[in-house]
């Protein structure tokens, strides 16, 4: 069952005396939802995602944290202290760094996580082939990772996480390096994960979020500024003028009437 995530008054500093990366952040993310975490660079999006994945608690022993994080029914006070693999999957911003770089083919790259989990034999082959087909990497299975294009690298990195079947999937700016075809593929993948996996992704733009997310969070200076559904977000676009690239969008949406988003705009939004 996909976990819900609720965070209560979370504060975080990378080291004593550092500026607050997260300031009194409280949010609830529904189970199985696809939530967009929007906001400018330095708003703390990456810090929040890395705290949920547990990597910050594990590697940043000098960090200072307070508050509490609840993922599913495990309570972490103040933050998870070890990497929550495999229940939480984290896709990094730069896919070429996420891949281990030591494997000779894409198929082996996907098996890396399963080696560490001690899964082999039939179940390993079955999980790898399932991940390959889900991200339609079938014909790239024997390709060498450094021969892949940006979009293919991104899909390989995502597949190498989905083999571990995480129940909470966290992605950091999944589309800012992709062209429109790559974005379209990523929209389909995230849509296929709905309800079975809780998805939370960070983005500095809004076009991808409008196409796939059902709840929207806007962050600034380490705390949550706005939390709401798609229509609430569309109607209050003007208040994010200098935080998100909405200026030309807000004009378009305002022209088409505040309450409902005009079907043609909504149709085009679904890319």
């Amino acid at each position: 069952m996909a976990p819900s995530v609720s965070i209560r008054s979370l504060h975080y500093q990378y080291f004593d005396g550092a500026p607050f990366a997260l300031k009194d952040l409280s949010v609830h993310i529904a189970s199985g939802s696809c939530t967009a975490l929007l906001g400018p660079s330095g708003a703390g999006k990456t810090t929040l995602l890395q705290i949920l994945s547990g990597i910050i608690g594990a590697q940043f022993t000098t960090g200072k944290a307070s508050g509490s994080v609840l993922i599913g029914d495990d309570e972490f006070r103040p933050i998870p202290q070890k990497v929550l693999f495999p229940s939480v999957g984290y896709l990094m911003q730069d896919a070429s760094v996420q891949l281990s770089g030591i494997k000779e083919t894409v198929e082996e790259e996907l098996a890396f996580a399963l080696d560490n989990m001690g899964i082999d034999g039939y179940e390993r082959r079955e999980r790898v082939s399932q991940a390959l087909s889900r991200l339609d990497l079938g014909r790239l299975a024997n390709r060498r990772p450094h021969q892949l294009s940006g979009g293919e690298l991104q899909r390989t990195a995502l597949a190498s996480i989905l083999v571990a079947r995480p129940s909470l999937l966290v992605l950091d700016e999944p589309v800012n390096a992709l062209d429109s075809l790559g974005q379209q593929r990523m929209v389909n993948v995230l849509r296929s994960l709905k309800c079975s996996t809780t998805v939370l992704f960070a983005d500095s733009g809004i076009e991808f979020a409008l196409a796939v997310a059902d709840t929207f969070l806007v962050m600034q200076g380490g705390s949550i500024l706005f939390s709401g559904t798609r229509n609430q977000f569309l109607n209050s676009l003007d208040s994010f003028y200098d935080l998100l690239p909405v200026n030309q969008w807000s004009e378009v949406v305002r022209k088409w009437g505040k309450t409902t988003v005009h079907p043609r705009v909504a149709g085009l939004l679904s890319l």
């Binding site: 906001g39 400018p40 660079s41 330095g42 800012n176 062209d179 429109s180 500095s204 076009e207 200098d242 935080l243 998100l244 690239p245 200026n247 030309q248 969008w249 004009e251 378009v252 022209k255 088409w256 043609r264 705009v265 085009l268 939004l269 890319l271």
Partner: protein, 254 residues
């Protein structure tokens, strides 16, 4: 100001990048250079300051021919900044990094020029901090500021808006408007048409070795074929605006 006279160029492993390309850019113009990956956009910038020499034809910048003059001399005419900030940030404070170009070009009072450029990109409070204590977006702004600090008549940027989120994009737009007013020639290689179409004077589309379009942005929205053929699509919001009775491209300052 910048003249490409029938340039032909190919890399060692014989992929033809340009075939007798002719492009003339007047002083004070802002050119947006667009094309699919591998259409030679980065090579176009490298031809500007002689890092890469054309097979045939010549590139002249500010009257100097790139065949005859070394890169160090051409760097005083055009300052070329590449995409990845990690490939050039070396100093241990923001100010030192911004001071590098004016100092190595032996400009007068390099420190004031650097501080001026940092103020233009809203980085003056962080002048003393280490560039890697800044966020990636601010490091990117730092590379743009250290190019502007060199005070060269022409500026060329490779994907200046990548890694920038909205607040930094607004800072970038403000800075480019100030540079436009002071008559600088600016070349921008970018995929981000939504950001740069409103402020550029002409758009250059590079497609398999040729310049298939070199005209004002409004002409681009009237006839989108050269754009579509070069594998680039007009941003969704520009395609939507006509449906709402708005002009396809907002006038600058919108």
């Amino acid at each position: 100001m910048i003249q490409f006279d029938n340039i032909s160029f190919r890399y060692a492993h014989d992929i033809e990048v340009f075939r007798d390309l002719r492009v003339g850019i007047a002083a004070g113009e802002q050119i947006l250079i667009v094309g699919r990956n591998g259409a030679g956009k980065s090579t176009f910038l490298k031809l500007l300051n002689g890092i890469v020499r054309p097979g045939s034809g010549d590139v002249t910048v500010g009257g100097l021919s790139t065949q005859k003059h070394p890169t160090s001399r051409l760097a005083a005419e055009v300052s070329v900044t590449f995409q990845n900030p990690a490939h050039q940030i070396f100093a241990s404070t923001v100010l030192q990094e911004a001071e590098f170009a004016p100092k190595s070009l032996r400009r007068k009072n390099p420190r004031e020029r650097a501080q001026e450029a940092l103020r233009l990109f809203k980085l003056n409070e962080q002048a003393k901090s280490h560039p890697y204590d800044l966020s990636l977006a601010h490091r990117k702004l730092l590379t743009l500021a250290s190019a502007v600090a060199a005070d060269t008549p022409a500026l060329a940027f490779d994907e200046p808006s990548v890694n920038l989120s909205r607040p930094e994009q607004l800072i970038l737009l403000e800075a480019f408007k100030v540079l436009k007013k002071s008559g600088k020639t600016i070349l921008i290689v970018s995929h981000d048409l939504e950001l740069f179409l409103p402020i550029c004077t002409r758009v250059l589309i590079l497609d398999d070795g040729k310049a298939t379009f070199f005209d004002a942005p409004e002409a681009l929205t009237r006839d989108q074929n050269p754009l579509r053929r070069s594998g680039v699509r007009l941003p969704l919001v520009h395609r939507l605006r006509p449906y709402c009775g708005l002009s396809p491209i907002p006038h600058p300052g919108a």
